[in-house]
Amino acid sequence: MASFHGLEQRPDVTAQIQRARALTEVRVPTEVRASSDTPKLDVDGTHSLEDAFELLAEMTQDFASSMDLDATLEKALASVAGHLDAEAGSLWLLDLEAEQISCRACVGPNPIVGMTLGMTQGIVGRSVMENACQSVFDVSKDPAFSSKADDESGMVTRSLLCAPMSFSGRKIGAIELINKKSDDGHFAQKDVHPLQVLASSAALAIANNRMAASLVDAQRVRRELELAAEIQRNLLPRARPDPFPIQGMNIPARTVSGDFFDILPVDGGLAFCLGDVSGKGINAALLMAKTASLYRCLAKTVSRPGDLLRQLNDEICETATRGMFVTMSAGVYDPRTGLVCLANAGHEPAVCHAEGGFTTFDAEAPPLGIVPEGDFPETELDMRGGSLYIFSDGLTEAADESGDQLGREGLERLVCDFEGVALAERVSAIVESVSMLDLRDDLTLLAVSDEHARAERGGGA
């Protein structure tokens, strides 16, 4: 064994020793609880402290370099058991939910890995729950002693030394050594330090391992969300170049979106819709996928937007959960006439910009998925060569640095700013301007323009 002076000449080891000393000093006040008949323990800890430093250096290295936690725990347990001349040792982890402790690693003649005890059972349970070291000279005289492990391993426990493991104030488990082979069979006070040192580094390694596992989980969830987002993007219609008269854009606030829009040719013109599912996240995204699919299916056969929303509402009501609902505007635009037939289920009012003025179209019915068998009135509007804007509240609620929301007036200003710009370009310019603000929700904008069709119809300017 290297002497203390020898070690001090190596700066890296010295730093490690200093950290170890701090760790050990923190641990020293931990209560050492002993049975009443336990003989007075040797309190001269100097020698064991040096041993502890060397053990710690070795174990810290192992914990830091190995990815196999179980193997490392077992190796560390074996070295501390060997060092303290114990017949066997076991490491127990606490499962607060199951109110159990279970043996994760052990060394000794008969393995008991996987064995469970109630979290307050046995001396090991007491050590975990009280977060205190336990030193028991004769277990037969301690009523807390559980013989379950002995029954399983066939060993006879006489004396026992146990140190709790905790990290950031959270109980993790405990390490237990059984039957000192030398020194009249009793664990001494000086044996407490090395075991505490092992307990501290094992607790750190276990906490790190759990954190790494939860990171892996988070990455897996993230990958799955990205896949879901890709599927969602494919539910939206592909962009068609100008002069196609309906253009839309969606920017999710998170990975997945609760907004959607669709555009498809039908008998009598072009059908379009924009929907916004209540809430955010994966539950909103799933209801979005369902509503978007139902819309696409129904729009091919149901020509009137009011009828379509009524059927969509009944379908969503049948399987609605947790009060979730969908606000939605649906319409059909006929380029031959310049007329739009529009129905609005609880959605933000549509804004029509024609001949220099703005007109809004409020919802005439509540959102989809709340009350079945509803009526969804239709409004017919003459576009007169103008443009109709339908959007989710993520657009109007986008706020600047001082928290002022864009509002409908802000959207109308942007519409005026980009007047005369071709529709696809105009939609992306408006969305881009809004994206500069703080987005709190998914942002979706859909615009229907009658400008090109009116020119083709030969209507006046």
Binding site: G279, A363, P366, P367, I370
Partner: protein, 110 residues
């Protein structure tokens, strides 16, 4: 968001204060469903609610639907103007019974 539940004239009055948004709506949902479960008529006082988003409205919708199944009544009282604007814009005033005052909700007229 803060909340309080009290009993008045045999009805449970649930009141919320502050913002009922995505962060707080799970708590609002728990409180509302807990009240509806008691099979008593429920009045939700929204006079101190400065902001309610769609997840907050969904909590109200779910509680409203549960009360319908349970055969008890569910109404909103003294809705703050900002929250009322949200509800009216989405035509949710056609879904919820909205009383302008607590006294009206309790059946004592406005």
């Amino acid at each position: 968001m803060e909340h309080a539940v009290r009993e008045e004239q045999g009805k449970l009055v649930v009141s919320f204060q502050g913002e009922v948004d995505l962060e707080h709506s799970p708590k609002a949902r728990e409180v509302l469903l807990g009240a509806v479960k008691k099979k008593q008529d429920v009045l939700v006082d929204l006079s101190e609610v400065s902001y309610i988003d769609s997840s907050g409205v969904a909590s109200l919708v779910e509680a409203f639907q549960s009360s319908k199944k349970a055969g008890s009544s569910f109404g909103l009282v003294s809705v703050n103007p900002a929250a009322l604007r949200v509800l009216e814009l989405a035509r949710l005033d056609r879904v919820f019974t909205i009383h302008s005052t607590l006294a009206e909700g309790l059946g004592g007229g406005s």
